[in-house]
């Protein structure tokens, strides 16, 4: 039964990918059922940008469904919900009017809510689901408000009509709509400071669901932001792009900072999703700014970088989540401090996770590097902007992107190194078994995709450029080049991923071969790790994840607000001997302390005050009804 339903989900994914590719090369299509949905009817249209995201959903759905077929029963029982999730996600980029969009969006949110809540017994799971539901519906409220207002002002619920009527709207109205819609979409994308649901929901959900949520669902928030800032409302003022840019810079740095100190493998990956959405928004924000400054070619470059990173992130994040799922299932824990030595017991998983780690750390020649390179080049084009303020923001964006790249590399040294290398830190890790074949197949597929996306920018970038050009009119392609090299921005920079890969491969093999020829003695001896001659070498001697993150905790103390707890149990007869030491270094999120808790306190205070209205007296309620009636008679 499992196999059938998940197979169906994979099939839906393949169809979606095919349809998406068809749409990206220029195909269009529409489905209209006026009677199915109120306020405009069901309206599905295939256009270039929507097709790209549809293909993305399909591309991620196939390996995750394959993984889910082999997932343990308690994780894979919500199979119909999963199918519904995939289907509703496919509807979102196709929706062409308000109601269709909102219904598909809400279906997606509800199905994912039930998927997050797979373990109904645990308090943390229930809390995660609760926060997720609240945040996603707060976002929905903003979306509904924005879309209904726009519909009222332009006189039609259809997105096409907004495109035509937007330039005629007052700028205040446009900006108001932008703010509402951007807030709603940013909440779904997990942009700082609306990100609080991400680190709770992604670890709680089963791994294939997390992979889809992280790889694709939050990208639909990016899809919405792209539509709002570039498409539905026409060309807006520069501050739209600046807001997106600053939000992206903040998300990228803060996301990776919180990931560095996290030792829950899946929550670490969730924070990295926030970071990568930040990087995507850096590209998107630069695109919007260039568009506002009248530089459509550069706007296309920024948008292409954002779209490329979107698909890359879907590939390597899904891979990492599936790998994490395999590890969590094999060891029974999500805590990295209890893992270790898994590379010898789970070699396939380790190799795929290494590819995913290298990809997310933006190491050449994999895909993460290419899209970050493009984002850098897009940001470097600020030399065409005349305003000093804009230049300053772009420079800060460049600096934060550079910092993010380095910190992401550091974080994945920790994630891969502590989880897979050295000795097992617990019995569960020492007895882990390799993942089943279907899981391995899914991971290998995604790893191959990472490599392919990294080696093929000369093919992919023009395709994405075509998608972007359909959104930004009068944009000339900003990149040329042959099959080997990609040249962007009129000769400003060039990249050849294939040449780098070949050069790296040759430089790897030649010294190996040369050494074999030069020095015949090839003796290797196995011995224990050098421990200064110490007698005992156990897993307790290894570095821990907490220790690995401590330099960062010191440097970025502002964000962590660390509190340290040190408990030492001395021997009852002498304080010179220690029986037990417990060290806890707890970090707290500044967003919880400074933003959400005060906001919630305010809300509760307001609710308490408003509760005064509910006195319980029937006479008072009758008086309320009378007053409301009189008011309505007077006003109308």
């Amino acid at each position: 039964m499992n196999g059938l339903v998940y197979g169906l989900a994979a099939f839906v994914g393949i169809v979606a990918t095919a349809l998406g590719c068809y749409g990206m090369v220029g195909g269009t299509g529409a489905v209209r059922l006026a009677w199915l949905v109120p306020l405009g009817g069901l309206d599905l249209t295939l256009d270039s940008l929507g097709a790209f995201f549809l293909a993305l959903i399909g591309f991620a759905a196939v390996p995750t469904s394959i993984y889910a077929m082999a997932a343990p029963p308690d994780e894979s029982k919500a199979r119909f919900t999963f199918l519904g999730f995939v289907l509703s996600m496919c509807l979102v980029p196709l929706a062409a009017n308000t109601m269709t969009f909102v219904i598909a969006w809400e279906l997606m949110s509800i199905t994912s809510y039930f998927l997050v809540l797979q373990d109904r017994e645990s308090r943390s799971s229930v809390y995660a689901g609760w926060v997720y539901a609240v945040m996603t519906h707060a976002g929905l409220a903003c979306l509904l408000a924005g879309m209904l207002l726009l519909g009222a002002w332009t006189g039609s619920p259809r997105f096409e009509d907004w495109r035509a009527a937007a330039p005629a709207l007052a700028s205040g109205a446009r900006s108001g709509a932008f703010i509402l819609l951007a807030l709603g979409f940013a909440g779904k994308a997990g942009v700082i400071p609306l990100h609080v649901w991400l680190p709770l929901a992604h670890p709680a959900a089963p791994s294939h669901v997390s992979a889809l949520m992280s790889g694709v669902m939050i990208k639909l928030g990016v899809y919405g932001l792209a539509r709002v800032s570039l498409d539905w409302l026409g060309i807006g003022p520069a501050w739209w792009g600046l807001t997106i840019l600053i939000a992206g810079a903040a998300s990228s740095v803060i996301g990776v900072l919180y990931a560095l100190v996290d030792h829950d493998l899946k929550r670490l990956l969730a924070f990295h999703s926030i970071e990568n959405v930040g990087i995507i928004l850096l590209g998107l924000g630069s695109s919007v700014v260039f568009q506002a400054a009248g530089q459509p070619t550069l706007a296309l470059l920024g948008l292409t970088a954002a779209l490329y990173h979107t698909v890359n992130h879907a590939a390597f994040k899904a891979l990492l989540f599936l790998g994490a799922g395999a590890v969590v299932h094999a060891t029974g824990t999500r805590n990295m401090e209890a893992m270790g030595g898994l590379i010898k017991r789970m070699p396939w998983t380790a190799a795929c996770f290494l590819v995913g780690s290298a990809a997310i750390a933006a190491l050449p020649p994999l895909n993460g590097f290419v899209s970050e390179w493009l984002t850098f080049v897009a940001l470097f084009q600020n030399r065409h902007l005349s305003s000093i303020g804009l230049n300053l923001v772009f420079v800060l964006g460049i600096a934060s992107l550079a910092l993010t790249g380095g910190l992401a590399m550091a974080c994945f040294v920790k994630a891969f190194g502590i989880t897979f290398l050295a000795l097992p830190r617990s019995d569960a890790a020492a007895s882990a078994v390799e993942a089943p074949v279907a899981t391995r197949l899914a991971m290998v597929m995604l790893a191959a995709a990472c490599v392919g996306l990294g080696l093929g920018p000369t093919v992919i970038v023009p395709a994405l450029g075509a998608v972007g050009a359909s959104v930004l009119e009068r944009a000339a392609p900003a990149m040329v080049g042959d099959w080997l090299t990609l040249e962007v921005a009129g000769g400003y920079a060039s990249l050849s991923a294939l040449a780098i890969a070949i050069a790296l491969g040759a430089a790897f093999i030649v010294p190996m071969a040369a050494l074999r020829l030069v020095r015949a003695p090839h003796r290797t001896r196995d011995y224990e790790t050098w421990g200064c001659g110490r007698i005992v070498q156990t897993a307790r001697m290894e570095y821990t994840a907490t220790a690995f993150a401590s330099p960062f905790k010191r440097v970025f103390d502002f964000f962590y607000r660390t509190t340290t707890r040190l408990d030492i149990e001395f021997h009852p007869q002498s304080r010179f001997f220690v029986q037990r030491i417990e060290y806890e270094n707890h970090t707290s999120s500044i967003f919880h302390d400074w933003l959400y808790r005060p906001a919630l306190e305010l809300l509760r205070a307001g609710a308490r005050a408003a509760g005064g209205l509910q006195s319980g007296s029937a006479n008072l309620y009758l008086a309320y009804i009378l007053a409301a009636l009189l008011l309505m008679l007077v006003l109308t």
Partner: protein, 314 residues
């Protein structure tokens, strides 16, 4: 095509064979500055040759990552050697990438070295790995912002063209933005190549090691490869400093006479820079580890100022 391949081979040989000499010269000059006769400048060649003939002892705790890392390190620095303008203004692989590629290639090397440090399961390796990635992550923004300041003035980020455009500018060294960027890059060079005041390459105290702690487990030919890759990384950073900020003497043509002249010019610039590094290393003490981020933040401030100077002037 044949000419380009020839230039590539010559460049690889210059970098690969010249790197141990540069390191040896640095050690000799440092020794002379403290009153010792010191080792001969070609001592590193002897060290590497001897290491190639020794047995390799591999820890039972480690995995294939440990054994693959030395080759990955060598691969990354050799590819980087073909992207940096060493003596020819347009290096062979310049079309493949620019400073961003260089930075991320070095990060690839750091990534694998840190993993190898964790792989042996010793506390030293983990500590070295943790510190090394922290320093690398904090140094990265400075490199990119400093080189972007140069790229902004040269209107291109391709290193070869930057060098060419600056080569025609007579008063380059007097430009304050240029000097600020040079200072920032110099500090980052010290951090990335593990020299004083960030890291003491000759220390024996594991608790004070950053880079050395990760290679404690390597022996024999693996150690030779790791040391050689480290020397090449130092050579490339010094070459970047010399050629990006003082781009005179680089040749655009491939005639043997022009290349020889370019090599001599490179040698002269590197000698001056090496002397400066030697003087600095013998004069300052190693910084406390948790002061290093302050130093790197200071270098970032310098790079940022340099960039702002370029933007405001334009």
């Amino acid at each position: 095509m044949i000419v380009e391949a020839g230039v590539a081979i010559v460049q690889l040989m210059v970098v690969g064979l010249g790197a141990p000499l540069l390191l040896g010269m640095l050690r000799t000059v440092k020794a002379r500055l403290v009153g010792r006769r010191g080792p001969r400048p070609w001592q590193p060649y002897a060290d590497l040759w001897k290491l190639l003939g020794k047995e390799v002892v591999v820890s039972t705790t480690s995995s294939w990552v440990f054994r693959a890392t030395p080759y990955v390190l060598v691969a990354t620095v050799l590819v980087a050697a073909l992207i940096v303008p060493v003596f020819v203004a347009h290096p062979p692989l310049a079309f493949a990438g620019n400073i961003i590629l260089l930075v991320y290639l070095f990060m690839l090397a750091t990534f694998f070295l840190a993993l190898a440090g964790l792989d042996a399961g010793s506390a030293f390796g983990g500590m070295g790995a943790s510190r090394e990635v922290a320093v690398a992550a904090l140094a990265e923004p400075t490199i990119i912002v400093a080189v972007f300041a140069l790229a902004l003035r040269a209107d291109t980020i391709d290193l070869g063209r930057v060098v060419e455009r600056f080569g025609h500018e007579p008063w380059l060294a007097a430009n304050p933005a240029h000097l600020l960027a040079f200072a920032a890059f110099f500090i980052v060079m010290l951090a990335e190549t593990g020299r004083l005041p960030v890291d003491n390459p000759a220390t024996h105290l594991e608790l004070t090691m950053i880079h050395e702690a990760m290679v404690l487990e390597y022996s024999g030919r693996y150690l030779a490869l790791v040391e050689w890759a480290g020397a090449i990384k130092f050579f490339l950073f010094m070459t970047l400093l010399a050629n990006l900020f003082f781009p005179w003497g680089l040749t655009s043509s491939v005639g043997p006479g022009a290349m020889l002249l370019a090599l001599v010019a490179l040698g002269g610039k590197l000698a001056v820079l090496t002397g400066a590094v030697a003087v600095l290393e013998t004069s300052v003490a190693k910084l406390r580890l948790f002061r290093v981020p302050e130093l790197l933040a200071g270098s970032f401030a310098l790079a940022f100022l340099s960039l702002m100077a370029v933007i405001l002037v334009q």
